[in-house]
Symmetry: C2
Subunit: 349 residues, 2 copies
């Protein structure tokens, strides 16, 4: 495996994810979510896990306006595009992005056939859980971990490897599969938007092929509606069998200013609703709402719920929300408080 021209475009995602290894223990622990109290009129309320706050009213009002042909804010069905960030917006991203947990796990797995890694950084640091050494390995080390864990196999094999990991892995705090840590209020919002003829896309800094493995089952979002970071692949026919080989080179980074680019590449229309939770979503929210005229809605999930999930924003290494928090109010974006706006966080068992 060799380093190629794509590497200078190192994933900010990956960087911040690994940096957090040094501070993950400072995250505040939270309790399980309380039970829903059943007061919502489930038969008529499309968002029963949302408290009856101003936020919920804004959501209902927005959808009501864009779908009402008599309203000046009416939007034709084909233009009802909604984009959702993934990590921290649709499911838990603390203490470490699921995909980074996968990458570290995979390196440890592969170490069995790479005895030389025992003495070779950054792999030695991963194997030994040596955070200081990982930090020292810096960008280049992080790229090596991504390359080792994500490339050099067929797309089919990668899919199998990720699918197994997602099935077997458990979140360190909640001790559940990550896929059970999708946010129940967001699942309701996805269904509500779909029922109103929205087309929903995930637009993530994470890698598209990682998310595809669980998006349909977990979120009800089909694979072709996942926009994300991607690596280069090469078509090959060997022994009469075609395959796509995952190359050690970044194709596209779908984060920050990459999100509007990814949206345009993949969807071709500006969304009318965007939902994010971190500075990585700032440009997606701008592109969706600023200077566009008409009916547009930007939403920012604020993780302020140490009890039920996590509380973090400006100082967090994972999912930092700083700039976007400053820009939200002047831009008219709705800040969703996990603590106040969500009746439940996770799906009840």
């Amino acid at each position: 495996m060799s380093f190629t021209g794509g590497y200078p475009r190192v994933l900010g995602l990956v960087l911040s994810a690994l940096l957090v290894l040094s501070c993950a223990s400072s995250q505040q622990p939270g309790a399980e979510e309380p039970k829903a109290n059943g007061q919502a009129e489930a038969s008529v309320d499309p968002l029963p896990s949302w408290n009856d706050t101003a936020t919920k009213a804004k959501l209902l009002d927005f959808v009501g306006r864009v779908t009402d042909p008599d309203d000046p804010g009416f939007v034709e069905p084909e233009a009802r595009i909604a984009t959702f960030d993934n990590d921290g917006t649709l499911w838990v991203e603390q203490p470490l992005y699921a995909e980074m947990a996968f990458a570290l796990h995979r390196v440890k797995d592969l170490a069995q056939v790479h005895p030389e890694w025992k003495t070779q950084q950054p792999f030695k640091a991963v194997i030994e859980g040596d955070r200081a050494a990982l930090m020292e390995a810096g960008n280049r080390g992080l790229v090596e971990i991504v390359v080792a864990s994500h490339t050099g196999m067929s797309t089919t094999l990668f899919d199998t490897i990720v699918t197994q990991w997602v099935r077997d892995a458990r979140h360190p705090k909640f001790e559940k599969p990550y896929t059970e840590l999708a946010y129940q209020p967001q699942l309701e919002l996805l269904r509500y938007l779909e029922a109103n003829t929205f087309k929903i896309f995930i637009v993530s800094g994470g890698s598209v092929e990682f998310i595809r493995t669980y998006a349909e089952e977990t979120y009800g979002i089909p694979m072709e509606r996942v926009v994300g970071t991607s690596i280069e692949t090469r078509y090959e026919v060997q022994g009469g069998k075609p395959s796509l080989l995952r190359l050690p080179q970044i194709d596209f980074v779908d984060d920050k200013s990459g999100k509007p680019v990814g949206i345009h590449k993949h969807i071709g229309r500006q969304p009318i609703l965007a939902f994010g939770n971190s500075d990585g979503d700032l440009e997606m929210l701008q592109w969706t709402t600023v200077g566009s005229g008409g009916s547009r809605l930007g939403l920012v999930l604020h993780h302020d719920d140490a009890e039920r999930e996590y509380a973090y924003d400006r100082e967090s290494k994972v999912g930092r929300l700083d700039q976007a928090l400053d820009v939200a109010a002047p831009s008219g974006w709705v800040i969703v408080s996990m603590k106040n706006d969500w009746k439940t966080v996770f799906t009840e068992e």
Copy 2:
């Protein structure tokens, strides 16, 4: 405008399109299509513009099998992905790809603000219709034409420019808008597949943003289901208004071995049906059918109808069908004869 690293990956499409300038006059002229004779049982026949040949029987049989839960070839609805090439498969590509006609027209338009082009190749050649000089300008000249016609503006402006051209341009032989030269049998096939829960994608060597401008209205295929060649864009905010600037650099070439790559990037699943018409579709057909097991169908449209459209294959500079024609039979692909399998070619007026 400067040349960048993306240029060595010059569009084969563009090259062959411009090469044809020197030989377009050798294309055989054809007559208008005859009227459908009305014998088909329109109320029950989903494909009334297809003759009752073995080809039509294979299509009906395939769709019947993959949608029958009791058939061993049954395919779950979410996996019913069909990919269609665009030029020469869904609409006319002779004597010159519509997008190349656009590029040449655009260069002539821009010449008004580029007086220097009167003496500067390849623009001088385009302005004067000098095919020999165009040939001499070679690859670099072709890239300059694409850059001049396709980049250096916002995505919004490009959309406007293309939309106007598509509305106003007339095909040199049929003297109709290109969008009226979509093939009626294919439109019926698209609707038939959709009615059987197929998701249909265009997978084209042409540029995705060109096709998006007319795909919904002409084919009923939504913008986000167009996979094609793309150029790099950059997100910018100027004067508080965000936009995407089209850069003079190729992002991705969705032709030949690029088609399986593009399918994977965009869709994430192997198609179970692929329909092409040229060597540019060979790898897409392979990826769809070869070694995949299960119910898969590859189709190749053979332009053998000089009377109603055009007749060309191995020797054509536009839409050459040579290698793929050799490989079709051993691969089990269905060769669709425009002359014999299609009752009508274009939509009746």
